[in-house]
């Protein structure tokens, strides 16, 4: 076997009061894709930050290409040949593609930047990833998010990187885009680049990686060849208990009997440029899944139901009365809650604490003049920290210090505290680990049992099928089907519905 290009031994990192990493080992070989697995808060991000020089290590050693290195800052890591592409694309939308690829590495002459050379170099870097068709002079903003991500990779590898770290690169991509990304990853792997891959999508991890290292609670749980470890074993190693907990959720979802009670009925609800007029009925105690690809209009429909965007056609009957949902406040008064898919920009309030974030919804509902007494706040926060398993269980910690899954749980708590009758969850499980996912799915099922109507949006069709009583399928910004869930409905059914619609649409244009 060849020498590992990265070898980390006994890495420990301590934050005030928390041991984030405790004696973790990690190796990375050239020409392999290595997945780092673990729940939220298991220490994946911390380990990556140790390797990229963001956090200094308290114990252990890092060898890069056989030499012991001390990484003080990201520049050290870059110089050692370690490149990173983060979950959120860190590019400049106002610059051209080529400028982004070469940012900080512009070929210069006495008269400034040599633009021709810059664009040639950028083109070469893109070509290497099979993106030769892109014009380096075009503005970055002309590209879809997925292609921007590939540009970010081109930027990362254009300086002879030996190691490429991809942190959740697929969380906002659709299936096609993921396939594209994987093509690029394989190409780099075959060139001998060592790739560290982090994703919560198990299918993708199995599709792309050769080896995986599993962390749990900041400790090293082992390193495995992907082909030697099946999913059940992986999940139980990650969460340290049986994966049966996940399966039981589906069983718990009992079918409803009797006449469904309509709590909300929207007719011709639509908004120009975001979703065509659509009819939606929601029943009490029902989970309604919105399925469809990214950009199919799922989020747009949800935002109209919450008043986050104004509908320009249609009307909504809420509990038998006509409701004018022209702002989130109006929707909240109608006891509708909406948790955005964009957790970072539209969900959490970064600088506020867990407690403040959690009570915010209830507080705005009550109005500024009726502050929630501190005792009641503490009780609420304790309740939801316990029920939803928010970790760390410290209400006074700024929410920005929590992992994504735990931020999501706080947001779920925020909306549950307002006691909604209709709860719209937009991608509540995106980018979070399997344990937190199970907890959130469990909470959704329990809510429906208690009579809350849940609108559940997810890119993971399996998840939609597992949870929903009824599934609205959307495509190209309109509703194309409504399925009553049952034994015969699977993720494949939905895919077939979407594909079939494409076929009919095609025929229509032919005719």
């Amino acid at each position: 076997m060849t020498e590992p290009v990265v070898e980390m031994r006994g890495i420990s990192i301590e934050f005030p009061g928390v041991k984030a990493l405790d004696g973790v080992d990690f190796r990375l070989f050239p020409g392999e894709v290595h997945s780092l697995m673990g729940e939220n808060g298991a220490g994946k991000s911390t380990l990556i930050k140790a390797l990229t020089g963001v956090y200094p290590i308290d114990a252990g050693e890092i060898r890069i290409a056989g030499e012991i290195r001390r990484l003080n800052g990201t520049a050290d890591a870059r110089n050692a040949g370690i490149a990173t592409v983060y979950q959120e694309v860190n590019l400049c939308a106002n610059l051209s593609i080529g400028e982004n690829v070469m940012l900080g590495q512009e070929p210069r002459s006495a008269l400034g930047i040599r633009w021709k050379a810059l664009h040639a170099a950028a083109h070469a870097a893109l070509e290497r990833l099979g993106l030769g068709a892109l014009d380096p002079r075009a503005p970055l903003s002309s590209l879809s998010l997925a292609v921007q991500q590939l540009v970010a990779i081109a930027r990362a590898v254009q300086r002879e990187s030996k190691v490429l770290i991809l942190d959740e690169p697929t969380s906002s991509l659709d299936a096609n885009e993921v396939a594209n990304l994987f093509r690029v990853i394989r190409r780099l792997r075959d060139e001998g680049v060592a790739i560290l891959f982090v994703s919560h999508f198990l299918d993708q991890v199995y599709a792309i990686s050769d080896r995986m290292t599993i962390l749990r609670n900041g400790r090293y749980e082992g390193e495995f060849l992907t082909k030697d470890l099946d999913r059940t074993a992986l999940i139980s190693t990650m969460i340290g208990k049986d994966a049966d907990a996940l399966r039981s959720i589906a069983a718990r979802r009992a079918r409803h009997d009797g006449e469904p009670q309509v709590v909300l009925s929207a007719t011709d609800l639509g908004r120009k440029g975001s979703i065509a007029p659509t009819d939606v009925d929601l029943h009490r105690g029902e989970v309604v899944g919105l399925a469809g690809l990214l950009g199919s209009g799922r989020t747009e429909l949800a935002r109209l139901l919450y008043g986050a965007d104004r509908a320009d056609t249609g009307s909504i009957i809420r509990a038998g009365k006509r409701a004018d949902l022209r702002s989130p406040r109006a929707a909240m008064r109608s006891r509708i809650a909406y948790s955005s898919e964009n957790r970072r920009d539209e969900g959490i309030i970064r600088d506020l604490t867990v407690r403040e974030n959690l009570i915010l919804g209830l507080q705005t509902k009550r109005g500024w003049a009726r502050p929630i007494p501190r005792r009641e706040q503490d009780e609420l926060v304790q309740k939801y920290i316990g029920e939803l398993g928010i970790r760390p269980a410290d209400p006074e910690r700024p929410i920005k210090q929590l992992s994504g899954g735990n931020q999501q749980k706080v947001l779920l708590g925020r909306w549950l505290a307002t006691q909604p009758e209709i709860l719209i969850l937009d991608e509540p499980t995106r980018g979070i680990d399997i344990g937190a996912k199970a907890e959130i799915q469990g909470a959704v099922a329990a809510l429906a049992e208690r009579g809350v109507t849940v609108v559940f949006i997810s890119s993971e069709l399996e998840e939609v099928v597992r949870l929903s009583d009824r599934i609205l399928v959307l495509k190209d910004r309109r509703k194309i089907a409504e399925l009553v869930n049952g034994e015969h409905v699977t993720a494949d059914t939905i895919v077939a519905v979407i594909a079939e619609d494409a076929a009919t649409a095609h025929e229509e244009t032919e005719a």
């Binding site: 986050a308 989130p328 920009d345 506020l352 500024w368």
Partner: protein, 346 residues
């Protein structure tokens, strides 16, 4: 020890240290600087400290308003001009209609002045919250327009008036302490209680940190912005009455001149970020006292008038440096190196 460390990290701490330092400098020049005596004629307290209390009153008020506006993610550059407008309206009214000892006339003048101040605040609020203009541009325009309005009100004159009740508010004493300071104290306590005992503080902070997320959480942006800009204008209007009442003259080009800068400095020294979000009213109080002490010290030390702004700037820059995370990191590192070196020697 840990508690001391936590205190040092709280931004107002260094403002507090700076105040003590300035007082120490003054004491070095005159050992009797801090002495407070009872005036044998009037029975009131006199001394430099009392002077500082008098100077700090208007700064406290505008700093409080500024602090709230900044917390929403905005800024209010018009406070100085609002002071001038409010003073101009009051003086002009008393000049034209006022009887020298009529309490009613004084109240009418005050009501009229604050009404006009609120009008300016309302324009700010509408432009920022409804029209969606940038706070900086909006209030910059109102800063120019406000002083223009003051000149229109007095027809370009520095109007003076005679009215004893008005004069008493600005120059009088209760229990030996200046009325202006007591009034300012009452006002800021009322505002602080209103903000921190209700949920307004939390809502303003969430709006300032992340307006989009706050909107989806049901925060009423418009109402909060209206409250902040109106309150800021109202407090500035009162500050304008204090400033003009003490001499019973409005100087349309000097009253409240660059007061917005004092207010912003007080807020920043108090540890509130100009980016909005988390704010500290206590910090703004410390900041206002620092500005007042600094102003008095400059006069007391006889710093030439032309060098005054530079002197002020140096003090503020040093303070901001001490509060910056990075500089603090450097100081910490240097300290650690020195300790290590000492250990090595031992």
């Amino acid at each position: 020890m840990n508690r001391v460390k936590g205190l040092v990290k709280k931004p107002p701490f260094w403002g507090f240290v700076a105040i003590l330092l300035l007082l120490a400098i003054n004491l070095a020049k005159d050992p009797r600087y801090l002495a407070i005596t009872v005036s044998p004629v009037t029975g009131n307290l006199v001394g430099n400290v009392i002077d500082i209390l008098r100077v700090v009153a208007p700064i406290l008020l505008i700093a409080f308003g500024m602090c709230l506006v900044i917390a929403t993610g905005g800024i209010d550059l018009s406070v100085g001009s609002v002071m001038a407008v409010s003073g101009a309206v009051a003086m002009q009214y008393l000049h034209d209609h006022g009887a020298p000892d009529s309490v009613g006339d004084a109240l009418a003048a005050i009501g009229l002045a604050l009404g006009v101040a609120l009008l300016v605040g309302l324009v700010n609020a509408v432009l920022v919250a409804v029209v969606g203009l940038q706070p900086f541009i909006t209030t910059l325009v109102m800063m120019l327009a406000g002083r223009g309005l003051a000149k229109v009100v007095t027809q370009g004159q520095n109007t003076n008036a005679v009215n004893d009740p008005m004069r008493w508010i600005a120059n009088g004493y209760v229990l030996g302490i200046p009325v202006v300071f007591l009034l300012a104290l009452v006002l800021i306590v009322v505002v602080a209680v209103l903000i921190r005992r209700s949920a307004l503080g939390l809502l303003i902070e969430s709006l300032g940190v992340d307006p989009k997320a706050a909107r989806l959480a049901g925060v009423d942006r418009r109402a909060l912005l209206f409250s902040a800009y109106l309150l800021s204008a109202l407090l500035a209007g009162i500050a304008g009455l204090f400033a003009t009442g003490s001499v019973m003259t409005v100087d349309v080009s000097q009253t409240g001149y660059q007061a917005e800068l004092d207010a912003i400095l007080a807020v920043v020294v108090g540890g509130t970020s100009l980016a909005g979000g988390r704010f500290s009213l206590g910090g703004a109080v410390v900041g206002a006292f620092l500005i007042a002490t600094l102003d008095k010290t400059i006069v007391f030390l006889g710093v030439p008038a032309s060098a005054t702004p530079a002197f002020k700037a140096v003090v503020i820059v040093v303070l901001c440096l001490l509060q910056s995370q990075r500089v603090r990191g450097w100081i910490g590192q240097a300290g650690a190196r020195m300790r290590a070196a000492r250990k090595a020697v031992a």
